[in-house]
Symmetry: C2
Subunit: 350 residues, 2 copies
């Protein structure tokens, strides 16, 4: 297969981890005889520095005209601590999601056997947990109108959802549940929010098309608790943009490190793959960031194109690295393996 892949390394540890994902894909290409053509482009703080724009025209055009995007990380404390700055790195990622129509962000959560003792949670709580979060990605309070009055004393953010935005991701979530343990849990705040009540209504209606899947509801506050108390109860969690952001970072504790979690962002025609961790500025350039989330994002990319054998090979390589303790310090505090060494281990295994 021929695939053209845009590499958007982004900020912080992004370039270091994306390089390891590229190595893994390159190895897969050699072994299974595929041609992966990579093209780099700037996004985020680095793009602001180079061009003044967190998502330069050129980057967007590249992404619109490739088969898939592999994304690193975005964000820089310089902008976070300046509430008045008008340009921010995150705008690059949000605009990219919107322009590519990436409405569904899919985040699988499943601990590795050999890491069952690395979680802050007790082994008996997480052993056997295996769920996927379907996070809506192009709606909600992320994209509604934002206002700040002239005096700078009053601000607002609008959270909006349409039936269409809800139903398209709901179908994906139910299709996924059909192939799994046949349960969808909608997380919302329907006792307070109008948008949540619309979610409930639309999701109930869509659920009628999938009679073999059980639909169940949780308020987001309760869900934040249940994910820790009893993660095994979940199969597919479906939720809106902001709740999905919060709950998926939270759920990362089940696996022992957020450095292990990959995600796929899908639209009708485009697809982007990225680790769920951020730009981790404190680790930048130190060769300590965990590249596994990026490498697993590459595996999700392979799966997306039907390359299941190849994806499986990457999963195996990652498992082998974890079993052999070829991991970064977030997983083994006295480890001698850096970002690069883990990447090499995995590429070599492949």
């Amino acid at each position: 297969m021929n695939l053209k892949i845009a590499l958007l390394a982004g900020d912080g540890i992004g370039p270091e981890v994306i390089l390891q994902a590229k190595k893994a894909l390159y190895a897969i290409g050699v072994v299974y005889d595929h041609e992966f053509v990579f093209e780099d482009a700037f996004v985020g703080a680095i793009a602001i520095e180079k061009t003044g724009n967190p998502l330069p025209e050129q980057t967007l055009n590249l992404c619109l005209n490739t088969d898939a995007v592999l994304f690193g990380a975005i964000g820089d404390p310089k902008y976070d601590n300046d509430p008045d700055s008008k340009v921010r790195p995150e705008q690059g990622l949000l605009k990219l999601r919107k322009e590519l129509g990436l409405f569904a962000n899919i985040r699988p959560i499943k601990p590795y056997d050999s890491l069952l003792d690395s979680s802050p949670l007790k082994r008996k709580i997480i052993e056997g947990a295996d769920f996927i979060i379907f996070r809506e990605l192009t709606g909600g309070v992320y994209f509604g109108e934002k206002k700040l009055n002239e005096a700078g004393t009053f601000a607002s953010d609008l959270c909006e959802y349409s039936e269409e935005e809800i139903s398209r991701i709901t179908h994906l979530a139910f299709k996924s549940a059909q192939k799994r343990r046949k349960k969808v849990t909608l997380v919302d705040k329907a006792n307070v929010l109008e948008t949540s009540r619309l979610w409930r209504k639309v999701v109930k209606k869509v659920a009628e098309d999938y009679p073999e899947v059980i639909l169940d509801f949780l308020f987001v506050d309760n869900a934040a608790m249940q994910i820790i108390l009893n993660p095994k109860q979940f199969d597919v969690i479906l939720t809106e943009n902001l709740f999905g952001d919060i709950l998926s970072d939270e759920a990362s504790v089940i696996t022992g490190s957020i450095g292990l979690l990959a995600s796929a962002s899908l639209g009708h025609t485009n697809a982007l793959f990225e680790p769920i961790h951020g730009s981790y500025p404190q680790a930048t350039g130190k060769n300590i960031a965990n590249p596994i989330a990026s490498i697993l994002s590459a595996a999700m990319l392979l799966e997306h194109f039907g390359l299941h054998k190849e994806a499986k090979k990457v999963y195996e390589a990652v498992e082998k690295a974890i079993e052999d303790n070829a991991v970064t310090v977030d997983l083994k505090s006295d480890s001698k393996f850096g970002t690069n060494e883990v990447g090499d281990f995995i590429a070599n295994f492949i």
Copy 2:
């Protein structure tokens, strides 16, 4: 001291647990020679049933004219599962918070020594954790305009904050930190939300009045993870309404049971005390709900009125109950103690 206390038992397990708090306060009154006068009123689903209104005029008037409100729980699945219903129990609580001006909800999180092994988190993670969440309670997306178009295909919720709303709770949080370990962590989503950027700006300004307190920032997604990874890093968490709702339910896992967590909601002139758990409909009438959160809410009430000796007595009684395993099934699955028996144990100890 003479105190007039409005008892709003509310829905579900509310009446059962509030009764135990009343017993504890009654015992305190007898031992320390205070006169607590209780007056009951309806709120929530039960109030809708009786009057059509989740916060009847009479209830509101009572609350406006008492020294404090002791609140049980609110909510009924009947309404949750009917997205079209125009009247909902929760409106009663939200209106009450707004009308009483209860802008600061204060939720202390600290595990009991004898329960360090009851949490889903490992002992080493939670031992020594001790923080307070200051949740803004009368602003944000809870109270902004809600819209649904005629066709029922498009909904929105507006999240709004003013400088004044942010600064008044910020002062309370910093005053609390001054008496503690002198650290405030603002939780927001300033990389996306305009309201969060206003929070950051205002909180930074207020912080200048408290030079001995360290101010620190976390994005809400990261905070949801950090609360589990390393809860000991926190002293005072300050956050807006919805984030506070989510994070405090999540943080309850540190203590082993949400049935242990009390909260105080304070305004300039009024005060309300309530457990953070909900109406727990499945447990209603079964004498299995944990009354400790309600009893601790009563202790927070005593403290609020400067009755520190008395509050301490209640804390001691609760600790004794926990040590002696005089607890409900959420804490000890084979326990023979019901809601009533735990309440009696604590009142007798006092």
